[in-house]
Symmetry: D2
């Protein structure tokens, strides 16, 4: 990575099995698998992944489709939030904002997402999307996501 921005603050997950839960979740993530996006790094509150940019993921001019960039942004921020919630909780995307800085046209897309501020109800997350052109990488978009924590409805029962 030739251009990489400072690492965000790291949080510690309260769920020791979060890696297994993420692996289980993504095995059934049809659209994610369809576009060939796979995770390359999984940490508490921090996720990295990449995909080969096949022709079908591009626009009429050969650039990465904005919707593909939004998709990988949603994935890395959502999984980063998911890694921090309780073993029976889940997260849903409440709001996703992407700022597109410049077009991507390289061979790969790389994305990383992290939790900026975890909360009882909402996890505020950020993500970066890079265009990988051979040995070089370029930040082409930044993402801001609000992930709502959906608490396990049976939690009270489990607690007993």
């Amino acid at each position: 990575m030739s251009q990489k921005f400072p690492a965000p603050i790291k949080y510690v997950s309260k769920n020791p099995a979060f890696r297994d839960l993420i692996n289980d979740k993504i095995s059934r993530q049809y659209f994610m698998n369809h576009i060939g996006f796979h995770l390359t790094h999984v940490e508490d509150g921090y996720i990295e992944g990449s995909a080969i940019m096949e022709p079908f993921l591009r626009q009429q001019d050969g650039n990465f489709h904005g919707g593909v960039i939004a998709t990988v942004a949603d994935l890395v921020t959502g999984l980063a939030a998911f890694s921090l919630v309780g073993p029976h909780d889940r997260v849903v995307t409440s709001d996703l904002k992407i700022s597109y800085f410049s077009p991507g046209y390289g061979d790969h897309i790389f994305a990383r997402g992290w939790v900026l501020k975890p909360g009882k109800r909402l996890h505020y997350c950020e993500g970066e999307i890079y265009d990988i052109r051979g040995e070089e990488s370029f930040l082409i978009a930044k993402a801001y996501a609000i992930m709502a924590v959906i608490e396990d409805k049976n939690k009270e029962i489990f607690k007993k």
Copy 2:
């Protein structure tokens, strides 16, 4: 459409050929065609379209993938903005924000986008995404896009 919000203000395109230009553009929109999204209505500053929600466009729980929703939001708002610019200009997505209200799980996705405020440099656009469940439709997300107008560099030459 059982649930449809008030129609936005309409603008008039200065480009008489905007329908042809949109048809030409989408014929080469690989990702849009790949997910099966097709336009059902094209007007000055206003676009509608829909897609059958095939299994590969869904998440692990069968709901519409947030990235697919973002993709169709980008398409309808971007084409709405494109319909209002000059014959040799184009638009790029500068910023895209999606508010996700509730999960989509029906058969079709329907999206409409419009230009809320056109400008010399930026077109502020909005879009709505509906989940079509048989005869009923539900607003599941709203999109806000800022489309930058890229003026034709040769405009001065053409003007002569």
Copy 3:
């Protein structure tokens, strides 16, 4: 109002005393009172208000300060959300986005806010800010707010 956009969908409050609660709340809203913003219309899920734009509310060039526009946007969307929650609940701003279309430089600012999509946890709201220049009004900004519902902690007790 010479330029007014379509009215949004209206919701019905479950709290019969919401007008009194809003009046009580704003009587202690120091910053709102300081800038001279007062409500002109209060309805279930819909709020209007205005202020005389005194010189101290402007920028170096005489235009309305972006922060003042954000302030009135926060007020009308927050109160619109507040009007729909339960008698003992309250709302806090989770996220506020303002799109600035053009500068304001008239005598008054007028703002209206409404709940686009109410929810158990989050109320998605929108607002419009107008510049009032004599008899004419101009839409100068649009606001998008996510208001989190803070449920009364003693609700279970009250329910008994």
Copy 4:
């Protein structure tokens, strides 16, 4: 500052007089001066400032008003963008988004803003707002701003 996030990437201004221009601009920033916000650090593409949180800048519950937080966010991101443009150019806020993490109730507000990605037309900026409680500081909000560069119309004349 007890809690401070990693420093962003720094850019170099092409305008050697940017400090003087910022000082001149803020001397006529009526609303900024009215709320008592003053700059504590000025650098190429990076601005810090703070204010004593007088009672009139608060809500009914004594917390910092969301509009005040938006105002200081607009100021530090706008001035950060302004520091990087040409000597005769200026910037206007096109879009401002604030994510509110937790309420502020301390004695001072501290804000810093920076340019994440400068561009010919748009500068993408970020900002952080801290609540200063005695010796401790807490990140209470993050801001994302899109500042449009307004090029000096007489630039061609000056170039000759």
